[in-house]
């Protein structure tokens, strides 16, 4: 075993997909692919991160993402500690700087952070030497979600290059949308968005993304739909008149999906608002790969843990 094949390095942290190269993203997806079988073993654990501690610092509530990370960390053999802060009793800013300093002092190897402020993952990454993985920072990015979406699309539709993917819903407020846009564009997909203009980010065309004003047009065009969750607060803030109207005009319904000229793949990051952005018979139907996204989520997070952990880059020499 004279010369090993090595993956490109990811740097110290995973803050977003915007800064990653095509090679880096592909390496994560390929590694995740080989890690899938670990979750099928009798002993669902490898000793790679044995003795290492990973802290899940979740300043925003999220059971599903946190649990997925915990599974990934435990399956890689790490010790995990989860901190959740409700955020209401503690001033957000103080907590973040103090958290950074305390974690540094405890000699933690890796931190997974979810926080309500855009840029908070980078804020933390710049201040501690531990590896930082962004589990969602405000409206900015949710890179592991973007990656598991890419893996799921690849599993079912083959290479991403040239695929037509439309992200539907509240793109303006969505970090999942941004990560998807960056990841898909980097791998050569054609990317579009669909939803009312009030929920579209300004200048999204400058990111190379087309806006479909009607869901029918989007479904007609797309190979893949990634349907985003629409929050009740958006109606209250005046972005849309009502959830009912949203479903009638923009909802991904069975009738619309079946009218599509091709077999459209349906993704959703969850949790779903059934009957709002997506109808149950689509979410549970044959085009949906929503549950596979969840499975892939653990493999992707294991791959990120694998590729990030470790010391500075050196030449790799394997001893047989």
């Amino acid at each position: 075993m004279a010369q090993e094949l090595v993956n490109p390095t990811l740097g110290k942290d995973l803050v977003g997909l915007e800064e990653l190269t095509r090679e880096q993203i592909t390496a994560i997806l390929d590694t995740a692919e080989t890690f899938k079988e670990i979750s099928e073993r009798p002993v669902r654990k490898v000793p790679f991160l044995r003795g290492r501690t990973v802290v899940n610092a979740f300043f925003e509530n999220s059971t599903r993402t946190r649990v997925s990370f915990e599974f990934a960390e435990k399956r890689m053999g790490a010790d995990t500690v989860s901190i959740s802060t409700s955020g209401s009793s503690v001033q957000k800013g103080e907590t973040l700087v103090d958290t950074a300093r305390n974690l540094e002092a405890m000699r933690i190897d890796m931190v997974v952070i979810r926080h309500a402020s855009s840029g908070s993952a980078k804020f933390l990454a710049d201040r501690i030497e531990s590896h930082v993985i962004n589990a969602g920072d405000g409206k900015h990015e949710h890179p592991t979600q973007g990656l598991l979406d890419l893996l799921t699309i690849r599993d079912h539709r083959g290479p991403i290059e040239g695929l037509k993917v439309c992200i539907c819903g509240d793109v303006l407020h969505s970090r999942v949308a941004r990560s998807n846009i960056h990841g898909l564009k980097r791998l050569g997909a054609q990317v579009a968005v669909c939803g009312p203009l009030t929920l579209m980010p300004p200048d999204v065309a400058d990111l190379g993304v087309h806006w479909f004003r009607r869901i029918e047009e989007a479904i007609e065009w797309a190979d893949v739909l990634n349907v985003l969750r629409l929050q009740l607060e958006r109606m209250k803030a005046g972005f849309i008149p009502s959830l009912r109207e949203y479903n009638r005009i923009f909802g991904v319904t069975r009738a619309r999906v079946e009218a599509a000229p091709r077999d459209v793949l349906i993704l959703h990051p969850g949790p779903m608002n059934r009957g709002v952005e997506i109808d149950s018979d689509v979410a549970d139907g044959p085009h949906s790969v929503i549950l596979q996204q969840v499975t892939n989520g653990v493999a992707v997070r294991m791959a990120v843990l694998y590729l990030l952990a470790g010391g500075p880059a050196q030449d790799v020499e394997a001893a047989a």
Binding site: M1, E4, F35, G310, G311, Q314, A320
Partner: protein, 174 residues
Amino acid sequence: MDAPAVEQAVSRIADEVVRLAAGATELVLLGIHRRGVQLAALLAAQIRERSGLALATGSLDITLYRDDLMVVGPRPVVGQTRLPAGGIDGRTVCIVDDVLYTGRTVRAALDELADFGRPRRTLLAVLVDRGGRELPIQADVVGERVEVPEGGRVEVRVPEIDGSLGVDLVEAGG
């Protein structure tokens, strides 16, 4: 060693493995990534030809079980670990690798196997044993023993990866 020499060695290994596995109804060959996998395939072909032993094959990637990864980066590419249907419980398993040197790779493979089940018996077959053990591990079947000068390397070539079959002794600095 040139290609014919390797094939001869594989035949000798095949016979010896069959002899050692006497009494087993079925043999599982697991090749260690990367080149051990191709050698296991060669070995399987030889065993089928030279005996009637029932055979299943699979592959083991031991990257995640290595004891030397934490201090280095970038991360090696992890290969596919695939065990044959039915697993390894109660079966006779033969681990196949290209070069046995410090023994650490085999140690990792044994740890990984332990997470999959409990074979009745585990054997180790290697194409080349170059000595230099750092752990108390020995192969049950060895194709060729080789003395390697200070700083030198043994490199095994397989067609699927390197385009040809053979074993090279590379001098220090080479």
